[in-house]
């Protein structure tokens, strides 16, 4: 026996060194894989929310925002995309550090994560799980509405000339009260040059998207008025939620 092997065996004996128990290693591996799977599922969910928010956009309103490229740029839910990217990075790192994960080239891992997220996100949306998630976050997270809901962020911008809400009362042939998605009451006026797209009869309860100019505290001059015709699936009831009526 060599001097080194004697020294090592003595140290093992004196310090009672033991191999890490097999069950501990199994638990560690299981925990690692659980983390990978949970992070992947959350990533799919985030991707599903991106898909959900984009699919409920009223793409016909693109001209109001300066055309399709501009509209796409504004409609993309960047916050959800950032969450998806962050979760995907975590999946990548955890997979890379798994027992055999290092053998796969980065492009295969990234491609695999993307494909699984696409499929998972689509499935989550198809099963109708995105809307309840959206509503729950809207109700419980104060910052969600103004940071994650790209649709709301586009339309709830009276200072930039965009207002969305539901007609409360017809004041006169050129004015109506509108309750916006934040439950604020606006007096919206319009002149003969205002464009209605499509031609609609103003009645209380009608959900509208209005483009124009803020003229004062809770005063808005409309230049274009649009019916919100994209019904959200499983639309929840709530002052913050715009549940447009189906167009006939």
């Amino acid at each position: 026996m060599s001097e080194l092997s004697s020294k090592i065996l003595n140290e093992i004996e004196e310090k009672k060194v033991q191999p890490t128990p097999h069950w501990q290693l199994v638990m560690r591996t299981a925990a690692d894989w659980l983390l990978i799977i949970v992070t992947l599922i959350l990533g799919c969910w985030a991707f599903g929310m991106v898909y959900f928010l984009l699919s409920r956009e009223d793409w016909g309103a693109a001209p109001l925002f300066g055309g399709e490229p501009q509209f796409v740029f504004m409609a993309v839910p960047y916050a959800w995309l950032a969450v998806f990217v962050l979760l995907s990075i975590l999946v990548y790192i955890n997979f890379r550090h798994s027992k055999r994960g290092y053998r796969y080239a980065a492009c295969w891992i990234v491609g695999g994560i993307f494909v699984l997220s696409l499929a998972g996100g689509w499935a989550i949306n198809e099963f109708g799980w995105s809307q309840p998630t959206h509503d729950m976050l809207n109700r419980n997270l104060g910052f969600y509405h103004h940071s994650f809901d790209s649709h709301a962020m586009m339309w709830e911008n009276p200072d930039r000339g965009f207002l969305a809400g539901r007609v409360v009362d017809i004041v006169d042939p050129s004015k109506f009260d509108l309750n916006d998605v934040d439950d604020r009451l606006w007096l919206v006026s319009f002149g003969p040059e205002a464009v209605f797209s499509p031609q609609i009869q103003l009645v209380p309860g009608l959900p509208l998207g209005v483009m124009g100019q803020r003229t004062g505290d809770h005063l808005f001059l409309a230049k274009k008025i649009r019916l919100w015709t994209q019904p959200a699936p499983n639309c929840a009831v709530g002052a913050r939620n715009m549940c447009p009526l189906r167009s006939n």
Binding site: L4, S5, I8, L9, E11, P19, H22, Y102, R103, A105
Partner: protein, 197 residues
Amino acid sequence: MAETTLQLQQKSDEELVSLSLIDKNIFAYLIERYEAKLKRYVNRLASFSHEEVEDLLQEIFIKVYKSLNDFDQKLKFSSWIYRIAHNQVISRFRYHQARPQAVSFEDDRAVNLLSDAEIEVEVDRHLAGEELSRAMAELKPEQRDILILRFFEGKSYDELSDILKKPSGTVASLIHVAKKSLKQKLEKTKINTNTTN
């Protein structure tokens, strides 16, 4: 009937791992099988003192013993033990925040590396070894490490992949970049002379 020393010496690494988990004294056979190789590997990575090398080897083998249940039978044991050795040496570098000093590469394998990197070699291998030592010391640690594992420890691309935990394609790229870097450093020191047969 207890197995004889000769019988144990003839067992494969994987069999010795299984037996070491039952009787720790059998672990000595694995130590003796890999002591010289790992000592040479550690000495090639940096010019540690004799005591530091002994310390490092002790740390490495203790770590190996603790991790025996974690040995993946689908890997070659030598790749696995080299992986542990590699990681322990890197940890030691980080702990001391020291860059490794030049070591000597004066042997036939130095010539293999030089010719593989398409660098013309001196007939005088002593000179070639000295210049190579200086150039290797200037390489980034990960470049030096991969060249040592490939050309001095004789590891295949698959083994390198298992030791460094990187895909084979990445290993090939790293070797290519390391050889190119080495060539540039050697050309700077003007090693090129004509090869005489």
